[in-house]
């Protein structure tokens, strides 16, 4: 597993009710969310700073070809 600091922008036109779900859905595209918070709002765009984790993958070569193995 590795941790990554990322920042993403979310459209604030989502209703306040849907905003946290929209943020988490966007972060899920980058990894497993661990910690996030809105850092700034500019117009209709919300800037989110977050930490996500991803699993480490290694490529191994076998007689039948390469395969990805999750560590």
């Amino acid at each position: 597993m590795t941790t990554h600091f990322i920042d993403v922008e979310i459209d604030l036109s989502e209703s306040p009710i849907a905003l946290p779900q929209a943020i988490e859905a966007e972060l899920q595209k980058r990894g497993e969310p661990l910690r996030w918070a809105v850092a700034d709002v500019e117009g209709d765009r919300v800037q989110v700073e977050a930490i996500v984790t991803t699993k480490i993958t290694t490529e191994t070569t076998t007689e039948t070809g390469s395969e990805l193995v999750e560590a």
Partner: protein
């Protein structure tokens, strides 16, 4: 006379002071603990997190207060997890392999002291199989963040602890003995806590993976007594470790129930929180946004300034704004008593004149 309403539906507040954003109150060495003590005295239940209650060698037992790690708070607010109060937890202590022998001995002694002098069940001490590799950074917003290079080593140690029967986990990781500008400013009561972000990552990793109470204390070398330590930072200058407050907090930290099928009527869910209290410029965290989305009252405290500059209105949140925690405490007391706050103002506004409206269709009419 029995207060039937507050007995059957305890008035519950969540106090949040995000770590690592330089909060004027709560951004240092457990300096929001007096706020927690005051709020706990006017509510039936208080939920708060380690950054508020941890004062290194200092802590204060609050019988109606739940010590809940930040990731678990986020999931509670999202409606995903519930909390189950317990009488006590068996705590495992995980020590970073990078801690040098003498400092490790200090932490084991702190654990022994907690066992013998406080009666806290620290059941085991486990070293990680690799140095955790703490690194510290600053985000573009100015908030502290950091990470560890060996998260899997931490999680393996936690898995071993849980297999051995641990119900809560205290982690001690070796942090850099940084004497840079940020650390100096922090001791002088200015700026952000440079280690806060990495600390949050460490405990969040364990809580997210295992759904178990967890908190972190940094291992740092002790130095000479300094002349310019601000009162808010002084609690972290008192001893060899920051571990005592973590053990005191985890002692009775509620268990986490992740599977909704296992929830019991006596468990505490996010919907049971009546009000969440937060610095006014820091309403963008996951827990506050989730609670705001479900209509929970948000109490925004204006004089607890942070490095952030984010108005609640910009996020579509309509909080109740108070100038100070003192004013917040008054608001909470009135709310618990079921009072209209306007009655406490010198000139409560009168009702608007009665307005007639067209009769319109009778809603009872089936046609």
């Amino acid at each position: 006379m029995v207060d039937w309403v507050n007995q059957t539906r305890p008035f519950t507040a969540a106090l949040i002071v995000p770590t690592g954003i330089g909060a004027a109150i709560g951004g240092y060495a457990g300096d929001a603990l007096p706020v927690a003590r005051a709020i706990a005295s006017v509510v039936d239940r208080l939920i708060t997190h380690p950054n508020v209650l941890n004062g290194a060698m200092l802590y204060w037992p609050l019988p109606n207060t739940l010590y809940v790690e930040g990731y678990a708070l986020d999931r509670l607010a999202a409606g995903d997890w519930a909390l189950r109060p317990v009488r006590q937890n068996r705590i495992a202590l995980i020590l970073d392999r990078a801690i040098e022998p003498e400092l490790q001995r200090r932490h084991l002694q702190a654990a022994d002291a907690a066992r013998a002098t406080l009666g806290i069940d620290v059941m085991a001490a486990i070293a990680t199989d690799q140095p955790l590799g703490v690194s510290l950074k600053l985000a573009p917003s100015g908030a502290s963040w950091g990470t560890i290079t060996q998260p899997d080593s931490l999680l393996r140690a936690a898995a071993r602890a849980i297999a051995a029967g641990a119900q809560a986990i205290a982690v001690v990781a070796r942090f850099p003995d940084d004497e840079g500008d940020l650390a100096i400013a922090y001791r002088q009561g200015r700026g952000v806590d440079p280690i806060a972000g990495a600390e949050a990552v460490i405990s969040h990793l364990v809580v997210r993976e295992f759904g178990i109470p967890c908190a972190h204390a940094p291992a740092l070398a002790s130095g000479p007594a300094l002349a310019d330590v601000a009162p808010r930072a002084a609690a972290e200058e008192l001893g060899y470790t920051f571990l005592p407050c973590v053990l005191a907090g985890l002692w009775r930290s509620p268990q986490i129930v992740r599977d909704r099928a296992d929830w019991q009527a006596s468990d505490l869910t996010g919907g049971a929180v009546d009000v969440a209290i937060v610095p006014a410029s820091a309403c963008g965290g996951a827990a506050i946004l989730h609670w705001a989305a479900t209509g929970t009252d948000i109490l925004a405290v204006e004089d607890n300034q942070t490095t952030l500059d984010l108005t609640p209105a910009a996020l579509g949140i309509r909080p109740t704004r108070v100038r100070s925690y003192l004013e917040a405490i008054g608001w909470l007391a009135a709310r618990r008593a079921g009072l209209w706050a306007g009655a406490l103002a010198p000139q409560p506004a009168p009702l608007l004149p009665l307005q007639l409206q067209d009769p319109g269709p009778d809603p009872r009419d089936p046609l």
